[in-house]
C-alpha cells in the first residue's frame, strides 16, 4: 500500500473516531448530567430534519422550489405516505418510483 495514502487513511480514521467517542470521553468521569438528557431529547428530530430538508429543497446545491425538482415532489409524496401508513418499505418504493418516473418525464 502507498505510504502517503495509508497515512491519510489513518489520520482520517483517528479524526472520525474522535468525533464519535468525544462525548463519551467528556462525560466518562462525571457521568452524564441530568440537564444533558433533557436538552438532548430533541437531537434526533433536529438531525433527521437537517439531513432530509436540504436534500429535498437543494438537490443540485441551489434552492429549487419548482415542479422540475423531482426530489421535492417525491419527498412530499413520501412524507404523506409515511404519515398515513408508517410503512418504511412502501414509503421508499413509492418515493423512488416517483423519482424515476419524474426524471424520465423531465429529461
Amino acid at each position: 500500500m502507498n505510504g502517503k495514502i495509508l497515512l491519510i487513511i489513518l489520520g482520517m480514521a483517528a479524526a472520525t473516531y474522535l468525533t464519535r467517542i468525544g462525548a463519551q470521553l467528556i462525560f466518562a468521569r462525571a457521568g452524564s448530567p441530568g440537564w444533558l438528557e433533557r436538552w438532548l431529547k430533541h437531537v434526533p428530530t433536529a438531525i433527521l430534519t437537517a439531513l432530509i430538508v436540504p436534500q429535498l429543497l437543494l438537490p443540485q446545491g441551489y434552492l429549487d422550489l419548482s415542479l422540475n425538482n423531482s426530489y421535492l415532489l417525491a419527498g412530499i409524496i413520501a412524507a404523506f405516505t409515511a404519515y398515513k401508513t408508517r410503512n418504511i418499505l412502501l414509503t421508499i418504493v413509492l418515493g423512488m418510483g416517483v423519482i424515476i418516473i419524474l426524471n424520465k418525464l423531465i429529461s
Partner: protein, 239 residues
Amino acid sequence: MEKKETRQQQQTGIWWEVLQDCLPMCAGYIPFGLTCGIMGRTAGLSTFEITFMSAAVYAGASQFIALGMLASGTAGWGLIVLTTLLVNLRHLLMGAYMVPHHLKLPRPLGYYLAFGLTDESYALVASRSDRKGYDALYNWGVNTLLYLIWILATFLGALFYQSIPDPLEWGIDFALPATFLTLLIPRLTNGTALVVALVAALCAVLGALYLPGSWYIIVAAVAATLVGGMMERSNTHER
C-alpha cells in the same frame, strides 16, 4: 428454565427487529458503498486501499470529500484530515445523545458502539430507544450489520468499478431521505417537536446555501436542539 427461554425469545425478537429495520437502510447504504468503491478506484486507490479506508474511517460523506481532494491532487495530509474532522463533527451531537445509554455499559462495549455511530445507525437506535427503550444488543446488531454491508459494498464497487453504471443515477439516492422521513414523521407529535423541526429545516436550508461543506447539519442541529431544550425548560417551569 422458562425464564431462560423467554430471554432467548427476546433476543431472537431483537435480531428480527435489527434485520427488519436495517433492510430499508441497505437500499441507501449499498449504492453509496458501491459508489465509494468506484470513486476510490477512479481517484487512483487500489481495491485494497479503498476497502481499508471504508473499514477504518467508515464515514461516507467525508470519504467522498477526501477522494475528491485526492483526485484533484492539490490537498495534503493536514487539509484532508482537518476536513474529515469538520465534516464528522455532527457525530459529537449524536454521541452526546447516546452518552446516557453508553455510559451504563462496560467501557469497551461503549467504545465499540461509538465506532459504529453513523447517521443511519443513530437514526435507528435513537428511534427505537424513544419508542421501546434502549437495548445494547439492538445497538450492537444494527452497528455491526451496517458496518459489514458498508465494507462489502465498497469492496464490490472497487472490484467491478469498470462494469457498474453510476448507482447514484438510479434515483436510489432518494432511499436515505425517504427512510429518514419515516423515522422523523412519527416524532412530530407535539408543538415542541414541530418547532424543533421547523427551526432545523430553516437553519439547514440557509446553512446549505451560505455555509461551506456540511456545516449546515451541525449548525441546524445545535440551533434546533437549543430551541427545543429552552421550550422544555419553560414547560416544566409552568407546571
